[in-house]
């Protein structure tokens, strides 16, 4: 291979004048983590609401849940980000559209909300499946104790359902982190974006992408280890994942 490897490139100053190439990648890593965390909060919030809607006996509620999930699942994430970023401000009334276009850090907020809503549909499906997997006795017992529907969900169904779906939720969280890289298309310079920028400035393609790859792997390992710890500390003795 006639490619000039130069692993020292990471410690050379980058053309933006602020630190080395490694600093560039680190700031991308930070932005990836920030975007993913905010997106994950949004995904959990809306995913929980829609997941509950899907599990309610009411026909209207489950139709709303079904429609929500189908809407966000049947369009590529990239197209959804374009809709939020380019289309939404044009369709709003003039004032609101202008305000949206002038928000500082617009790519960050768009990415977090866009990825968050995209992932919320997946969280909703997992949660609905988790609730459906609970034995019917749980809900009946909650009713027999005099709990309202809301209390039944809050104190009985959700705590157990979330414990059951913790492993699939871990991989959805990992997907959230990976999906933030799609926001490179609306100008968010996160980890993949910084690796791409480094490649364009320095022509050291493979070093830049190797570094980004290692960082993504590191994030993965940290998340998987953390979630395993969480699973163990939340396990209910004698119940499914508990020992």
């Amino acid at each position: 291979m006639n490619y000039n490897w130069n692993w020292h490139i990471f410690f050379e100053p980058n053309p933006t004048g602020a630190g080395t190439y490694l600093d560039m990648l680190m700031s991308g890593l930070l932005l990836t983590i920030q975007t993913a965390l905010l997106a994950w909060v949004i995904a959990l919030f809306f995913g929980t609401i829609v997941g509950i809607l899907r599990s309610l006996p009411s026909r209207t509620a489950s139709w709303i849940g079904f429609g929500y999930v189908e809407f966000f699942r049947n369009m590529p994430l990239l197209v959804q980000l374009f809709l939020w970023f380019f289309v939404l401000p044009e369709l709003l009334p003039r004032g609101a559209g202008l305000w949206l276009k002038q928000i500082p850090n617009a790519p960050f907020w768009t990415a977090a909300i866009g990825v968050g809503l995209f992932m919320s549909a997946r969280v909703a499906v997992q949660l609905a499946a988790g609730i459906a997997s609970l034995p019917r006795g749980q809900k009946n017992a909650a009713t027999a104790l005099g709990l309202t529907t809301a209390q039944g969900y809050r104190y009985v169904l959700l705590p157990i359902a979330f414990r059951i779906i913790l492993p699939p939720l871990t991989s959805e969280f990992l997907n959230t982190i990976k999906n933030t890289s799609v926001a490179i298309t609306i100008g968010l310079i996160e980890l993949t974006g910084q690796a791409r920028a480094m490649q364009e400035f320095s022509f050291q393609v493979f070093e830049a992408f190797t570094a980004a790859t290692v960082m993504y792997l590191a994030i993965n390992i940290v998340v998987v280890t953390g979630m395993r710890f969480l699973e163990r500390s939340l396990a209910i003795p004698g119940y499914i994942t508990g020992k």
Binding site: M1, N2, P76, F82, V87, L91, T192, R196, V205, L217
Partner: protein, 230 residues
């Protein structure tokens, strides 16, 4: 709100959008799904082969691919494929690779990791008696895989494989990052040329939505039918 929009731009660019863009997207989806399935099945067989080394190589590959974002993998292969080509053909310099070939290699290698997990589950879902009966009949390992295990595994996993293909269909839109005119890329080119972002992106979203909805409805129907037969 829709007063200064010009939806005629869609009609004017329909031939370009579908004959160039959508045919690229569908070709890429179809060939990547096929290639991903073949390589994925091989990887799954490696993992289940019982040889420790083969199994851990396959496992590492799958875990590695699945922990990277597709966008990064697309960039990786875009720059790597010319060098791989040089190595394979023994040329003196990195070879020139077209946009289609480069993205095809990317998606096959990437999807193989996901398809292999599906096929692995499919193979494991076949009861032990099946391969045992096959070897009792005197079939070799490869014959028993070819005639007994894999056809059943494939059949059982067909709905999941097709669902993954719908995901793949949506994911091919990410070749946008290489400015390749797939369906979304074509829509975006027209959008930027004519300054009609709203119309073109709404239309692209609608097309993806309708195709994915119809396809997943079809998969649900198929699933129901297979479930009855079994």
């Amino acid at each position: 709100m829709f007063d200064n929009l010009d939806f005629d731009v869609i009609r004017r660019s329909l031939p370009y959008l579908f004959l160039d863009g959508m045919s690229f997207t569908l070709m890429l989806t179809g060939l990547s799904a096929l290639g991903g399935l073949v390589f994925g099945t091989l990887i799954a067989l490696m993992r289940l082969s019982g040889y420790k080394l083969l199994g851990s190589i396959a496992g590492l590959y799958v875990d590695f691919m699945r922990s990277l974002p597709l966008v990064l993998v697309i960039f990786w292969f875009y720059f790597l494929v010319p060098y791989i080509g040089q190595w394979l053909t023994g040329a003196s310099r990195p070879i020139r690779v077209g946009a289609f070939t480069s993205s095809l290699v990317t998606f096959i290698m990437f999807e193989a990791a996901y398809f292999s997990e599906i096929m692995r589950a499919g193979i494991q879902s076949i009861s032990k008696g099946q391969p045992a009966a096959a070897s009792a009949l005197g079939l070799t390992y490869s014959q028993s895989m070819r005639y007994i295990v894999l056809p059943q595994a494939f059949r059982n996993m067909l709905p999941v494989l097709l669902t993954q293909t719908i995901v793949l269909f949506q994911d091919t839109s990410l070749v946008y990052v290489l400015s390749i005119p797939d369906f979304l890329g074509a829509a975006s080119k027209v959008a930027q040329r004519d300054g009609r972002l709203v119309e073109m992106y709404l239309f692209a979203a609608a097309v993806y939505f309708v195709i994915s909805c119809v396809a997943s409805y079809g998969v649900r129907r198929l699933q129901a039918r297979i479930a009855i037969v079994r």
